[in-house]
């Protein structure tokens, strides 16, 4: 039980530790808001990744999907579309990319690691071709509200994140799609033998992950106020790390929204804390890497005890 709560306790310990080590800066509203803003994008991608990983898959292309979504959304705005339309286009583009991943995985029956490694390259390349490698700048000023604005005293992205987290949680725990995701991830053969439309639901999971990533792309674009074709490089690993720290298993069938959020915030706080305490960014990377290994080894220990 203690080990199941370990990620949660780690997050609390980190929070308390940082409050003591750097009371003035860490607990300030500006700093906490900036932690939320910085982690929101990874959090959104990690929510989608949670679904994918629970269903026994993996999506290495989310970083590229993020860039594609952000670029197409901002290009639409630059061409005079309203902001809402731009956001919709970004999310829709992400959805299409996710659908493509799911379609290729289920139709060609290729390991999703390979498929998304391929689409990572294809999507990034396509984004660069569409933009000719140049960022989009002509964005309406009001668009910055998405990433930088406040609603009722807290960052607007926090509201977006909470709504998405609740939605994904409901999908996972209370809908047929979520149940099938667990079943497929836990034992794809048993799911197929039970007559579950495995291909359809696998594709749906990737499409939802793509949508959330597209939304993340729009938030990223809003924070930078540019549509960057090179945005999101390496984000896929952070999203996967968040899921895994939060108790998700790459073997499928395990994971939760709460766990993933905790995982993403642990990484966010580690980065933020290192900044505040003046720890070099080089060392930061090593600390986060070590955290991933520690978290997963504790989780494996817990499971091994359970099995016997």
């Amino acid at each position: 039980m203690i080990q199941r709560l370990l990620p949660f306790l780690t997050l609390i310990a980190l929070f308390v530790g940082l409050s003591i080590a750097s009371p003035d800066h860490f607990l300030s509203k500006t700093n906490l808001s900036s932690v939320v803003r910085q982690t929101a994008v990874i959090n959104l991608m990690a929510l989608g990744m949670t679904l994918v990983i629970i269903s026994g898959g993996i999506d290495l292309s989310v970083g590229a999907i993020l860039a594609m979504g952000g670029l197409l959304g901002t290009m639409a705005m630059a061409k005079g579309q309203p902001i809402l339309m731009g956001v919709f286009i970004g999310v829709f583009a992400g959805c299409v990319c996710g659908f493509l991943n799911g379609f290729l995985t289920t139709k060609l029956k290729i390991n999703p690691f390979i498929v998304t490694l391929g689409t990572l390259g294809i999507l990034r390349g396509t984004t660069l071709i569409i933009s000719n490698g140049l960022p989009v700048h002509e964005i309406p000023a009001a668009f910055s509200y998405l990433g930088e604005g406040n609603l009722l005293g807290v960052p607007f992205v926090l509201w977006v994140l909470v709504v998405c987290a609740v939605l994904v949680h409901v999908i996972l725990e209370h809908t047929r799609l979520g149940r099938y995701a667990f079943s497929i991830g836990s034992n794809p053969d048993a799911a197929y033998y039970a007559g579950i439309p495995v291909a359809f639901h696998t594709t749906a999971v990737y499409a939802i992950c793509g949508m959330l990533t597209g939304l993340g792309g729009m938030i990223e674009a809003s924070r930078l106020m540019t549509g960057q074709p090179t945005a999101g490089q390496g984000y896929e690993l952070q999203a996967i790390a968040a899921v895994v720290i939060g108790g998700g298993s790459l073997r499928g069938g395990e994971g939760s929204v709460i766990g993933t959020l905790v995982g993403a915030f642990i990484m966010g706080l580690l980065a933020n804390g290192s900044d505040l305490l003046g720890i070099s960014p080089y060392l930061q990377q090593a600390i986060i890497g070590a955290t991933i290994i520690l978290a997963v080894s504790f989780d494996e220990l817990r499971k091994r005890k359970m099995v016997h």
Binding site: L177, Y180, S186, N187, D189, Y193, G253, H308
Partner: protein, 504 residues
């Protein structure tokens, strides 16, 4: 004495797997280790093989106190284990597998393939094994793979060989071959520990018997001093009624009609019918096409030709999904691999085939309803569990099988294809599975039952169809004899060890 275990204890977390494990094995003795699933047999053997470390007790090997911290320690002193699931490298050859980890080495890490191949050939010839040293292991049948593991043990000069349910996946003729080999090992003064669930094969191999129950050794004696009934009593700790014998029902309407089902080269012109209330047995050797028949009927393999009628309606089944829609259910041979999601709760496994039963508005799950539904079925099928939230993998084999069956009851299937329904299940629990099948038949289901255990077919089936080399070679009444079945199953069949291109 070769091996002497005294008061061995082992706990996993809070669960006590072994309280008091005692076992003594002499050289040149085949020692049967019996007990229900969960009695601690496998744990005890894994301790002997160095895969687990005991929490208490003494282990003497040839009179010396020993403790193994890893499997290599046990194999170094001469203890080898033939596992139920093969632990071979499928892409390597027979010879490479025999010498895996102990290759004939040349300087700079080169491997002397020629010498290895020769040594393997000599070994295979010496024992008259139907193997070739250069065959790739993945092409071998389960029986062939076991032979390779046995070769490996002999090549390493082992003096104690542990068989963990060696015959559970083998046909009758292959089983005989394993027994022959066990006897030759005994004659060479090796000690053999043999775990089995099949009571009818005890007498053909064993010398002594040790019975475990609930982690304790409850009995130990020579095999000729004890009757099978006493053995069962020791295993289950209570008196079992007379041998199970199902009484037939008056069959109702025709539920399944198969005509001319062909899938080359494994199935040729399969025709059969199953009526409501009927249990039709499907007998035959491994590779005869029994599992393939089930697979084709369930939409897992597409047949070349043939017609299938379910309850009088012509159906085309191209996937399990379509089979399920037509009311066909498959209880697969390997329930851990294809029947259950062992890491998910029982409740999830019960509703997986018909989630609509516990959904609102077609997509929102009703957890309360699911729990009560799961509770109802657990009670109905007497599934022993703590709650519907318990993970399916934590259940015993018999209870897992009941969950697989219950899944199809929830769905309301009417045609049931049982493929080896009691494989790896305790004696006591087997009868419970038969009872569930009988209740299914009484409630109007039609059952096609594949089994390699002939006594089981004779106990349960109303009619028995016998298959050989992809064809049905005859139909026998339920009260026939094993000899009649074997006659139809083995004509012109040598029991080849190279698996056909099938999954059986």
């Amino acid at each position: 004495m070769l091996l002497q275990l005294t008061a061995i204890q082992k706990r996993f977390g809070g669960v006590v797997a072994l309280k008091n494990g005692n076992l003594t094995v002499a050289p040149g003795e085949v020692h049967l280790l019996l007990g229900e699933n969960g009695a601690g047999k496998s744990t005890l053997m894994k301790i002997v093989a160095g895969m687990h470390q005991p929490d208490g007790g003494d282990m003497l090997w040839k009179g010396q106190k020993v403790s193994f911290s890893k499997p290599a320690d046990a194999s170094a002193v001469g203890i080898a284990m033939v596992h139920q699931e093969s632990l071979l490298a499928p892409h390597l050859s027979v010879a490479e597998n025999i010498f895996l980890g102990r290759e004939e080495r040349l300087p700079f890490g080169w491997v002397n393939r020629g010498k290895m191949l020769d040594a393997a050939r000599k070994l295979i010839e010496e024992h008259h094994f139907p193997l070739h040293a250069d065959w790739r292991v993945e092409k071998l049948s389960p029986a062939g793979k076991q032979l390779v593991e046995i070769c490996r043990a002999i090549a390493h000069g082992s003096s104690l060989l542990i068989f963990d349910e060696p015959t559970s996946s083998l046909s009758e003729s292959e089983t005989k071959e394993v027994f022959r080999i066990v006897r030759t090992l005994r004659d060479r003064q090796m000690g053999v520990i043999y775990i089995t669930h099949r009571l009818e094969e005890l007498r053909t191999v064993g010398d002594r018997v040790t019975i475990l129950r609930d982690g304790e050794t409850v009995h130990n004696c020579g095999l000729n001093e004890i009757t099978n009934e006493r053995i069962i009593q020791h295993m289950v700790g209570r008196e079992l009624g007379a041998m199970y014998q199902r009484s037939s029902l008056l069959p109702g309407e025709e539920l399944l009609r198969v005509q001319g089902l062909t899938r080359k080269p494994l199935l040729h012109d399969i025709s059969l019918t199953v009526r409501a209330g009927e249990i039709v047995g499907l007998a035959g050797l491994v590779g005869a096409g029994r599992t393939e028949t089930c697979r084709a009927l369930f939409g897992l393999d597409e047949p070349d030709s043939g017609a299938v009628h379910v309850a009088g309606k012509a159906v085309t089944v191209r996937s399990p999904r379509e089979a399920v829609t037509e009311g066909i259910a498959l209880i697969p041979e390997d329930r851990q691999k294809t029947g259950l999601a062992t890491a998910l709760p029982i409740g999830y496994n019960l509703t997986i085939a018909d989630i609509n039963k516990v959904s609102r508005m077609g997509f929102l799950l009703d957890h309360d309803k699911e729990r009560s539904l799961a509770g109802d079925y657990a009670k109905k099928l007497r599934i022993k569990c703590e709650s519907p939230r318990q993970l399916a993998g934590r259940l015993s084999g018999g209870n897992q099988q009941k969950v697989v069956i219950a899944k199809w009851l929830v769905r309301g299937a009417r045609v049931f294809l049982f493929d080896e329904p009691t494989r790896g299940i305790d004696v006591g629990a087997k009868v419970e599975v038969y009872e569930v099948m009988d209740e299914l038949a009484r409630s109007g289901a039609g059952i096609l039952m594949v089994s390699s255990e002939l006594p089981e077919l004779l106990q349960v089936a109303d009619r028995i169809l016998v298959m050989r080399q992809g064809r049905i070679t005859g139909e026998l009444p339920g009260r026939t004899t094993q000899e009649e079945i074997m006659k139809l199953a083995t004509l012109h069949d040598g029991g080849a060890l190279l698996a056909e291109e099938g999954t059986e």
